[in-house]
């Protein structure tokens, strides 16, 4: 056994990004002629793991792992790595997995590499392609440590079906009792998160004030999208920090990113560059965002967005 992929789940359902990490692992396993083992923690419906090519599934059910902590999850993973002679650990790029990757790296003394966007171009030396300089460049990077920890960038590799007949093995892991207590988790309600969204609708200062955000929310709602904002908007307190996307905010790697009233400062573009298709709506034809976008409308957001909403509502009715 060589490749271990931690398939992150939430409410007994694997995350889309976990299936992408599995697809990556499957392709890597085929390239290296190695088997792929999934680690499922407190998630008992394995049909998707079989659908996307897991050779083996390690099924860990443990009440100490009910809530994620990097400490406890790393204990489970490092135990499996040692027992099963794992050489490559694959993670998705969620906030939790990135938190975990660096911590396991310290625990195992093995190199961790984030933001990987493609399969290794060579296996010896082991060369991966990753993004750096806030998506303004790619690097080809060699990982030399015996055990390699890789986190796959969201929406970079894709989800590829490949059915397999997976062996399921239940396993007990020892989890220490540590003085690390989760006191509370406050979740935004009723909205898609930026990290998991296929579509993100984002507003900038061009919207003139928080009272106009219903336009962004309505459009996002119609598209099943997450809402986001530019840095000035979060600095002004119009929207929470958690919605700020850009170099010092959250990165966005959605299929579609719609920027409304955002001029497109270099720091903003850096944060959203990994999105596949970008749309800009801005009344200033000179806004730098038009150079970065695939589609654009030069026009007043207060006219264009309501018109878009109306057309999309009609489309939904059809």
């Amino acid at each position: 056994m060589s490749i271990l992929v931690y398939t992150e789940s939430e409410n007994n359902k694997f995350k889309k990004s976990a299936l992408e990490a599995l697809s990556y692992s499957r392709a890597l396993g085929d390239k290296m002629n190695e088997s792929v083992t999934c680690l499922a923690i407190n998630c008992n419906d394995f049909s998707q793991l079989k659908q996307y090519g897991a050779d083996k599934i390690i099924d860990v059910n443990n009440s100490s792992l009910e809530k994620f902590t990097s400490k406890h999850y790393s204990e489970a993973i490092t135990e499996i790595v040692k027992n099963k002679n794992i050489k490559i650990i694959i993670l998705n790029s969620s906030a939790n997995s990135k938190y975990l990757g660096a911590y396991i790296s310290g625990k195992l003394g093995s190199a961790y590499i984030s933001n990987v966007v493609d399969l290794p171009s060579e296996l010896s030396p082991f060369l991966v392609k990753r993004t750096c300089f806030s998506n303004k460049a790619f690097s080809t990077t060699e990982i030399k440590s015996e055990i390699k920890i890789i986190s796959v960038s969201a929406n970079s590799f894709g989800i590829i079906e490949k059915a397999a007949s997976s062996d399921v093995q239940q396993m007990d892991v020892k989890i220490s009792s540590s003085g690390f207590n989760i006191k509370k988790i406050e979740r935004q309600t009723g909205s898609v998160t930026i990290a998991d969204a296929d579509i993100v609708v984002s507003g900038g200062r061009g919207l003139k004030g928080p009272e106009n955000w219903h336009l962004i929310e309505k459009l996002a709602d119609l598209l099943g999208a997450a809402t986001a904002c530019s840095k000035p908007v979060s600095d002004l307190g119009w929207r929470p920090h958690s919605e700020h996307v850009g170099q010092t905010g959250k990165p966005v790697a959605s299929n579609l990113y719609i920027a409304i009233g955002i001029s497109g400062a270099i720091q903003h573009l850096a944060g959203i560059n990994a999105s596949k298709v970008k749309v800009v709506i801005n009344n200033d034809p000179e806004a730098p965002f038009f150079k970065a976008a695939d589609y654009g409308i030069v026009g007043d957001a207060f006219e264009v967005v309501p018109a878009l909403i109306e057309k999309l509502e009609k489309r939904a009715e059809q």
Binding site: K71, S94, A95, N96, Y99, G101, A102, Y103, I104, S105, G106, K107, A111, Y112, I113, S114, N115, T131, C132, F133, K136, A137, F138, S139, T140, T141, K144, S178, G179, F180, N181, I182, K183, I185, E186, T193, I194, A195, D196, D198, L223, D235, H241, S242, Q247, T248, L256, Q267, V277, V279, V280, F290, K291, D294, Y295, G296, I297, D300, V304, A307
Partner: protein, 248 residues
């Protein structure tokens, strides 16, 4: 209370990114280097704790002599002491090992590093330090409250905020939200003058072997020109997104 803030010296956020020597090295020509923004939020928080918690704040960087102006700026902002581990910082993993090795001898109650640097975006340093030292760890940290030897800290998770309670020593991956952008301290003349008197110590590196090596760099392909749709024909945009881009 002793706080260590680890500082990375990075190109200013507006920098144009280019590469030299056959695309193997970042082109530093004409680049203004600054404190990594994620580190600066952490440094500001640490400086606040000098007053609120009687903390002693040390800043540390792993790098060559050319990074010293950035350390002086940290001293001008309010750190008490600066340390430079002398080597050419090649990758985040070996940098983290240098810092962890240093912290085995010099004990700190809190070690703050930016959640990631804005140049190589590795996001590895705080996690590796905490893993190696077996300290508690919280990254993407947006709130930190210390009472005695206990920390209450919050981190951004996908779609929310999680608050934990844990014992010190603690490694913190800092980001915006730990303090606000408007809270960042711009050094005044007095701070700059005082910084000249503060200790800046250089210590030898362990020179751990590099296990992550950037072999070459390249920039994304130049984007095709934007397709414009008239403001009174928004249905065309919907059609393009549906049938050409196939994203809705």
């Amino acid at each position: 209370m002793n706080i260590l803030v680890c500082i990375s010296n990075v190109p200013d956020t507006t920098s144009k990114i280019n590469f030299v020597e056959n695309d193997t090295k970042f082109d530093k020509n004409g680049i203004q280097f600054v404190i990594n923004p994620n580190d600066e939020f952490g440094l500001t928080k640490a400086v606040w704790m000098k007053e609120s918690h009687n903390a002693n704040v040390t800043v540390l960087t792993v790098g060559e002599q050319s990074v010293e102006p950035t350390l002086r700026k940290c001293l001008a902002i309010g750190a008490d002491k600066a340390i430079r581990i002398d080597c050419d910082a090649k990758d985040g993993f070996s940098v983290a090992k240098e810092i962890a090795h240093f912290c085995e001898k010099e004990k700190f109650d809190i070690i703050i590093c930016g959640r990631e640097s804005i140049d190589y975006n590795g996001g590895i340093v705080p996690g590796v330090i905490s893993g190696m030292l077996d300290y508690n760890f919280i990254t993407n940290c947006v709130n930190l409250d210390i009472k005695g030897s206990t920390a209450e800290a919050s981190r951004e998770i996908d779609g929310g905020i999680e608050t934990v309670e844990c014992d010190l020593p603690l490694v913190v991956g800092s980001q915006k939200g730990l303090v606000e952008e408007s809270d960042l301290i711009i050094p005044n003349m007095r701070g700059i003058m005082m910084a000249r008197q503060k200790p800046l110590e250089t210590i030898d590196a362990q020179n751990f072997e590099t296990e992550i090596e950037n072999k070459s760099f390249h920039k994304p392909e130049v984007k095709k020109e934007v397709k414009l749709v008239k403001a009174n024909e928004v249905e065309k945009l919907i059609d393009l997104l549906e049938n050409e881009a196939k994203v809705i």
